[in-house]
């Protein structure tokens, strides 16, 4: 049986776990840990991913797609390279309503680009948030080249996640030509 791997990365609290949960056919194998009360992160969410999230989509008995979500906090970045090994492509999640994370998102994007010359797309997540930046403004802010797909996304909606995954697959296909 062939297995294919895709990585979902991005800054802390950008919606990586939610993205995988929305599309995975199995309950996501998550390595979330409760955040220490009183920390800045704990005000954002109660738990964070410390190693990886793991989701699965079975295509047929010969082919399975695995989705790996990276831990968003920098102190776990030693895991990134391990997760990037052999990936078919990757998705960079960016919280559209938190411009303070854009620089970090760009840095993560560049790090993953350096790990492997694989295709990738950028998902402008939380587009349903009232403070969300327009994706085209985000493209300029993040200095994303015009040929790279920057897609509006709401990670808690399965259709939106599906569209992002499809666009990544189309990109992979285009780059094979």
């Amino acid at each position: 049986m062939q297995t294919v791997k895709m990585v979902v990365t991005g800054p802390f609290s950008s919606g990586k776990t939610e993205f995988i949960r929305a599309i995975s056919e199995i309950e996501v194998v998550s390595t979330e840990r409760d955040l220490k009360k009183g920390t800045a992160e704990a005000e954002e969410k109660e738990a964070t991913t410390v190693a990886m999230d793991f989701g699965r989509i079975t295509v047929d008995e010969d082919l399975v797609l695995y989705l790996f979500g990276t831990p968003g906090q920098r102190r776990f970045d030693f895991m990134w390279e391990i997760l990037a090994e052999g990936m078919l492509g990757f998705i960079v999640m960016v919280d559209s309503a938190k411009p303070e994370t854009f620089r970090e998102a760009k840095s993560i994007l560049e790090t993953f680009r350096a790990y492997a010359p694989t295709p990738y797309v950028v998902a402008a997540n939380k587009q349903d948030h009232p403070d969300a930046w327009d994706p085209e403004d985000m493209r300029i802010a993040l200095r994303i080249e015009p040929e790279v797909k920057l897609l509006p996304c709401v990670a808690k909606e399965r259709d939106s996640v599906r569209d992002v995954l499809l666009e990544l697959l189309y990109t992979i296909l285009e780059e094979m030509d």
Binding site: V4, E43, V59, L88, E100, D134, D137
Partner: protein, 293 residues
């Protein structure tokens, strides 16, 4: 959709670039930072917008107007600053033309041969650019871009291409960094040296220098002198630096002045990995599967 954030995360130069590339129309407002006591997603202190400090208007990606809060940006102030009107002329005009819109006043001044149309356009351009160059040195203020807001009708809007502003701003930023290193605290005061007569003998000062010199007093902070003269932080630093280097003034701490701190940056490193060989038909299968979800 809103365009808001903090200059700490997204600098003025980056904002100008975004506005230029997206051809936006509207007004950028920059506010005093008010600490909220909370942390943002990057673990930095979250700042709420306080009092408005600056307002910059754009039309189709071009800079058209800029003003700082607490500094007069009307036509008289602009022409006075550019040296097209003397202080006396400006004061008289302020009295006589009270309530007159800038556009109407411009027509009257041109008609009376006080100034030419070119003088007005160039002075407004220079004033607007100076405000924006000043904003480029700010790095901790909350901002918001409002698509619906534009300056009042009576203002004269002069469109200026942003590309050159961005390049010139970056150059000035380096100069500013040097000046800031030399004169980090604008809450310091100035005083004359012991033998000022000797020092000033044979010295030819420009208008800006004389304006600053006239306010030299240990009671006045440099910031207050700048405000009184309608000067930006960069302009006052440049003048004070020159005067101090020439030995004409001395920097002294005024009573109760406090020191402030600066900020930091970081970087990352990377390695290469092999890509897994995957066939085209595998990707097509994946596409079909995802489509069916």
């Amino acid at each position: 959709m809103p365009l808001q954030g903090n200059l700490r995360d997204f600098s003025t130069t980056q904002l100008l670039n975004l506005i230029n590339l997206s051809g936006r129309t509207g007004t950028l407002m920059i506010f005093d930072p008010v600490p909220t006591g909370e942390k943002d997603a990057m673990n930095n202190e979250k700042m709420a917008p306080g009092d408005e400090r600056a307002r910059v208007a754009f039309a189709k990606g071009k800079l058209v107007h800029a003003s700082l809060s607490g500094q007069s940006g009307d036509l008289i102030a602009v022409l006075n600053k550019a040296g097209k009107l003397t202080d006396q002329q400006a004061n008289i005009l302020r009295e006589r033309a009270k309530g007159t819109a800038d556009k109407a006043l411009a027509m009257r001044l041109i008609g009376a041969n006080y100034v030419t149309q070119n003088d007005i356009v160039n002075s407004i351009k220079q004033f607007t650019q100076d405000v924006v160059y000043n904003l480029m040195t700010w790095n901790a203020q909350p901002f918001r871009f409002d698509d619906a807001s534009m300056p009042p009708n009576e203002r004269i809007l002069v469109p200026i291409d942003l590309e050159n502003i961005i390049i010139e701003g970056a150059r000035r930023l380096r100069e500013t960094e040097e000046l800031e290193k030399h004169l980090p605290n604008l809450d310091m005061a100035l005083k004359f040296p012991n033998n000022p007569k000797e020092k000033f003998k044979g010295i030819h000062l420009g208008v800006e220098e004389w304006r600053v010199v006239s306010f030299v007093n240990p009671k006045n902070t440099i910031r207050q002198i700048a405000k009184a003269n309608n000067m930006t932080d960069l302009e006052i630093r440049r003048v004070v630096y020159g005067l101090e280097q020439a030995g004409l003034v001395l920097l002294v701490p005024p009573a109760g002045a406090e020191q402030k701190a600066a900020t930091t940056r970081r970087a990352a490193s990377s390695r290469r990995k092999r890509q897994a060989p995957v066939q085209r038909d595998v990707v097509s299968k994946l596409i079909d599967k995802i489509k069916s979800i």
